[in-house]
Amino acid sequence: MQNITSLASPHRLQINIEAEPAATGPETDSQQKPGGMMEDQQFRQEVRDWLSANFPPALTGVNGLIFQGDAHAAAASKDFQAWRKAMADKGWGTPTWDKAYGGAGLSPAQAKIIAQELSAIGAFNPIRSYGTMMLGPTLLEFGTEEQRLQHLPRISTHELRWCQGFSEPGAGSDLASLQMKCVDAGDHWVVSGQKIWTSGADQADWCFALVRTDTSVKHGGISFLLIDMKSPGVEARPIVLISGSTHFCEVFFNDVKVPKGNLVGAVNQGWNIAKRLLQFERSSLSEVKTDVTPLAPIAHAMLGTDEEGRIADADARARIVHNAMRHAAYLQTVRRFNEEARNGGPGNGVSTLKNLWSGIVQRRAELLVEVLGADGLGWSGDAYPADAREATRALLHSKAFSIYGGSYEIQNNITAKRSLGLPDR
C-alpha cells in the first residue's frame, strides 16, 4: 500500500502529482464572498511577486519528487534548502493549515492559486511529502491538539521526514491481516514486528504505522501509532529492487518503546483511520498525469522509416500506435473524471483509472525498450546511451505500478464491488 509518490526517481517514465491543497481550515471559497474575484486577483499578484523574489531560478522545471524521494539530494542542494525555507516561513507549503500548525490559514481557492502560480513558472512545492499529503490530513481529522501541535509545524517546514509503516511480509494486498504487535506496558507501548515496502524508511525521522493491539479480531484490532525512528530497537534496511532502486526498506521493530500519547484516535480504531488516509492517497492518485517522451521520433531513429515517413517495422508500428491511442484516451479520461468530480460526479472511478494507467504506461515502457533493441538492455557503461539506460531502468521500475497503491487485482476487485455492484462470495 505504498503511495504513488514513493517511487519517485529521476526516470523518464514517472508520474507527477499536481499540487493540491490539503483539506482543512475554513471551507469558504473566496470567490463566494463579495469582492472575492478582486481579492483573488490581488492575491494572485501577491503570489507572483513573492515567487519571483523567492523561487531559485536554477530549480525551474526541476522535478520536486527528486528531493522528496532523496534526503541526500535535498540536503546537498543549496537552492532546494533556500526554497524549502522560504516556503516554510511563508506557510505556503501547507497553505490551508492554520498558522498555529505552520500553515498560512488560506482558503482552498487561495491554495489553488498558489499551486497554479507555482506550476506556471515551472516551480514545485518543496514541502510536499508524505507528511503533508497523508499524515497531516489524518492528524487534522483524528489527532489530538497536542499531537497536531507536536507534528504539524515540522511537517509544514519539511524539517522531518515521515514514512508509512503499513505493509508487512504477510500483509500486502490483505493489509488488515497485519501482525506487528503493540502491547500496553502501562506507561508506554511496546512494539515488535516487521514492516516492508516502507518508502524512504532509511531516511525517515518518524513513521506512522498500523499495529495490532487486539489479536482476537481482524479489522477491529488495529491501531494507528506514531513511532520515532530513532527509538532503540528500530532498524531500517534498504531493499534492492530489479531496477537497482533502494528506495524501499524493510523495517524491524524489536521491543520498541513508544509513548502512550503517540497513538492516534482510539485504541483498535486504526483501520478506520487507515481507510481515511488511503482516501487521501487515492485523491492524490487521481491527480496523476503522465509526462512521457514521444515514442515516434525514437522509433523512426531506431527502426527506420518507409518511403512515406512511417515507422518501417509495420508490426512494431501497429503496437506502438495502439498503445499511443490508448494513452491519448487515458488522458482524456483523466480530464473527464476530474471535470465530473468537480461537478459532484460519482467519484468511484479511481480504481479503474489506476488500472488503465498502469497497464498503458507499462506497455509503453516495454515498447520503448523493444524499440531500443540491444541498446535498451544496458545496465551501466558508456556503451549505452544515457537515455537508453534510463528507459531500461524505467521499464523495470514500471512493473511496480500494478503492485503498489493496491495491486491490479485488488483494484479490479474494488471496481467489481463498488462500481459494478457485483456480489461477494
Binding site: A329, L356, L422
Partner: protein, 375 residues
Amino acid sequence: MAVLNEEQTMLKDMVSQWVRDRMPVSVARGLYDHSGGGRKDATTGFDRDAYGEVAAMGWSGILVPEAHGGSDFGAFSLGFVLEELARTLSPLPLLSSAMIAVSALRLGGNAAQQSAWLPGLADGSIIGTLAVDEGAHHAPDTLALTATRVANGWRLDGIKRPVADGMGADLFIVAARGEDATMLFLVPADTAGLTREPLDQIDARRPALLRFDGVLLGDDAVLGHGDALLSAILDRAYVGQAAELLGLATQAFETTLDYLKTRVQFGQLIGSFQALQHRASEMFGELQLTRSAVEAALAAIDADDPQLPSLASLAKAMANGTAHRITCEMVQLHGGIGMTHEHDAGLYLKRSRVAEQAYGSSSFHRERWARLNGY
C-alpha cells in the same frame, strides 16, 4: 458521462423515456425473421412513422440552424441522443440523416441547397444519407464511381454499397471521382438512372446497393469539391457512429452485468467469481476510455477544433474495439443462451460488427490516426 447543462439533461431524460416506451430491443428484433436473418418482406429497414416521432421531438434538427427549422443544439447533444437510441439498437436513420447528411449540407451546401434540403431534413420529411463506400472496405481515397462533365452538368456512373438506410432515403450525398478532384453530389432517390436494391446484412437494417447508370445531374446538384470537404463530412460520420457504438456497448455490458448478478451455478451467483469480476472490471475500464474519446470528439465538432480528424479516428477506433470486445463477452458470459437467436446477445453482436465496419474499421482508423500524429 460528461457534465450536462439543464437543457441537455432534459433532452437526455426525454430520449431515455422515449426509448423505453417506443424502442425496446424487440423493435430491432422485429426486423428479423425466424431464421435469424433479415425479414424478406422488409423494405426500408426502419419505421418511417417512428422516425416521424423522432423528428417531431426535434432530434432530427439538432444540427440544423434555426433559420432552417432546426435547434442548432450541437453535435454533443446529438451524440448522446445517438448513444441512447443505440442502447436498444433502435433502427432509425438519425445518424445518416441528422448527423451526416445535415453536416454535409452545412459544410458544403450553398444557400440555395441549404434552403432546399435542410428544412426537410430537420422536420423528418426528408431522410438523407451518405453514399461513399463501394467495396468491401471503407476507402474514401480510392473512389471508383465517376463524375464526368457533360453539357449542362454531370454524369455519374458506378455503384455504392453498402449505403446505410439507403432503401428508405430520399436524398443521397454521393462521393464521386471527378475529373481532377473528389466531388460530392446531391442526388434525390428518384433521379433517373439511379436504382437501388436491398442487402440482407446481418443486422437486418437493409442497407442499399445503389447503381448509377448514366445518372445526369445539373450543376446545382454539386455540393462541393475536394478531399477536405469529404473528410470533414466523414469526421462527423466517424464520431456519430462511434457514439452509437458506445451506446450499444454500454447496454451490452449492463445486460451482461445483470446476468452475472442473477445466474446461479455451483450454488452461487456467477458474478461472485473473481475471474468473471475481473473481466467485468476490465470491460468497464474500456468503456471509460471509449466514453472519454467519444465525448471529446463530439465536443471537438462543436468547437471547430482543428484536431477533430485525429480525435474522430481515436473515438471510432476505441469504440470499435470496445464494442467488439464487449459483444464477444456478452455471448461468452451468457453461455449457451447467448448463442440463441431468442436471446438479445446475438443482435448486439451482429449490429456491432456492422457498425464497426461502417465508416472505417479499427485498422483504418489506427492508420489514419498514426499518419495524423507522425507515426
